[in-house]
């Protein structure tokens, strides 16, 4: 009489082993995800919005960790335990459905997806990671400093309506102050992406796309166009600066002086512009 266990008992043994290994791998990976990988997730913690995005990315990672561990453990277990011996040519056992396993898998993934849907919706509506942005912001933080981002082929320029509508080629913002970026375009579709600020807003002609951010520390941040916009799209980048309130006051005063004459030539401040000429005159 053979000492081999019955197929059902053998399957159960494999299932228990895989479940245990998955649980152990998840317990090891989760602290690493939460305390090591999570805090280093993009885009960093330069602003309240960016910090919120880091939190969202960490939650996504936490949710996907058990599933990832299960898939990796299953793969490793299969390659190790079910590996055929050299020269062995045997047909595998017929594969049949396993109702309980299927229900468990469907239940686990459904719970994960539903949780992410509820979490994502709540985060979208919250003031931070996406709420209060777009052409019609849901939430409007009070006391925000408006800064208009004007995209054109192929450069961003910036207008400060509360400082006489002066326009500049550099973007500077004060630290610890809510900024309302009003993003628009004079020609093609661009996208204003201030990476470390956690701000990415499409720049569309005739659209005032609003995004809020409050910088937590001074320093520089990268600005890029994130929408393919023509020949020099790859060169449409810039470096912005977050400075102290005093430095900002001094800088904006300098800009007002430097561009006093050309400011008179600018159209009155508006959330969008439709400038002539739309085609070459000459």
């Amino acid at each position: 009489m053979s000492s081999e266990p019955a197929p059902a008992a053998r399957d159960r043994r494999h299932t228990v082993r895989i479940a245990l290994l998955t649980a152990i791998a998840t317990l090891i990976a989760l602290p690493l995800v939460i305390w090591v990988l999570g805090p280093n997730m993009p885009p960093g913690k330069g602003t309240d919005v960016a910090n919120s995005q880091v939190f969202d990315n960490t939650v996504l990672l936490v949710v996907m960790t058990p599933f990832t561990m299960f898939i990796l453990v299953y793969l490793a277990y299969t390659l190790t335990v079910f590996r055929a011996d050299e020269g062995e040519r045997l047909e595998g056992a017929p594969i049949r459905g396993h109702v309980r396993l299927q229900i468990a898998w469907l239940a686990a993934t459904t719970i994960a997806v539903l949780f992410l849907a509820i979490f994502g919706t709540a985060e979208l509506y919250a003031n931070g990671s996406g709420g209060g942005q777009g052409p019609s912001p849901i939430t409007k933080p009070g006391g925000a400093l408006p800064v208009q981002v004007i995209a054109q082929q192929w450069e961003f320029t910036y207008r400060y309506p509360t400082y006489g509508g002066v326009e500049t080629a550099q973007l500077e913002i004060p630290v610890d102050r809510q900024i309302a970026f009003h993003v628009t375009s004079l020609d093609a579709i661009h996208s204003f992406w201030a990476y470390q600020l956690g701000v990415k807003a499409d720049a569309n002609p005739s659209v005032d796309n609003v995004a809020y951010a409050k910088a937590r520390k001074t320093g520089t941040f990268d600005i890029r166009c994130a929408e393919l916009c023509g020949l020099w799209h790859g060169y449409m980048f810039d470096t912005g600066r977050v400075v102290t309130g005093g430095q900002f006051a001094s800088w904006i005063a300098q800009q007002q002086t430097r561009f006093r004459e050309v400011t008179k030539e600018l159209p009155p401040y508006s959330t969008t512009y439709n400038p002539d000429p739309t085609d070459r005159a000459g």
Binding site: E155, A188, W232, E261, L266, P275, D276, R280, G282
Partner: protein, 223 residues
Amino acid sequence: MSDTGRRGIVLAVLVLVSAALIAFYVVRLMSGPTPFQPAVANAAGRPTVSLTLQTVAAVGPSLSPNPSWVSYLIREQGVWHRTTVWTLPAHALVHVTVYQYDGNSGLRNPFLSQARGIVGGTFTVDGKAMSRIAPDDASHTFAIPQLGVIVPLQGVADDAKNQCDYAPCSLSNAHRTITFTFRTGKKGKYRWQCFVPCAAGFVYGFGGPMQTIGYMDGFINVV
């Protein structure tokens, strides 16, 4: 030869041909047009170069397969070339003279009508020092955004006599003479462009020559 051997040879040939085509494309992409390299002088220990450019409403059949396209040209040993990729020394003073033969188009963003990033903050138009022009008078701009350089180029009057039809234009044609100086800064590859929507016949004036290196855009290789 066996079927397997024949298949192997066919596969090897196909792989080699594909690799050769990819290599040809990459080499062509990397090499680009031959850059223009002006003579370099030294003034007070600093490299100094002079560029002489002209901007024309229509580049003409002798210089381009797109004769009606607007374009920059550069003069090399007395001959005008349609070359917009230039090699310049690092930390050099670059004296630029532009003979501007085109009419006004106007800027979409009036802010760009003020010069920035040039030595002294001013440029000259027909000998007159200026720091900006009326936005509607702009025919083109010379701009190197990464270096913060922009100079608006004033157009010739609509009713000017003896206007140039096709490049290369001569100094007897109606034109503006614009001069300015900028510094190249550190080594790198910088793009330059025109900001005026000056491409006739294209949507928003930003197609064709505004999207093609060799006309209204180019590179400056600072070495």
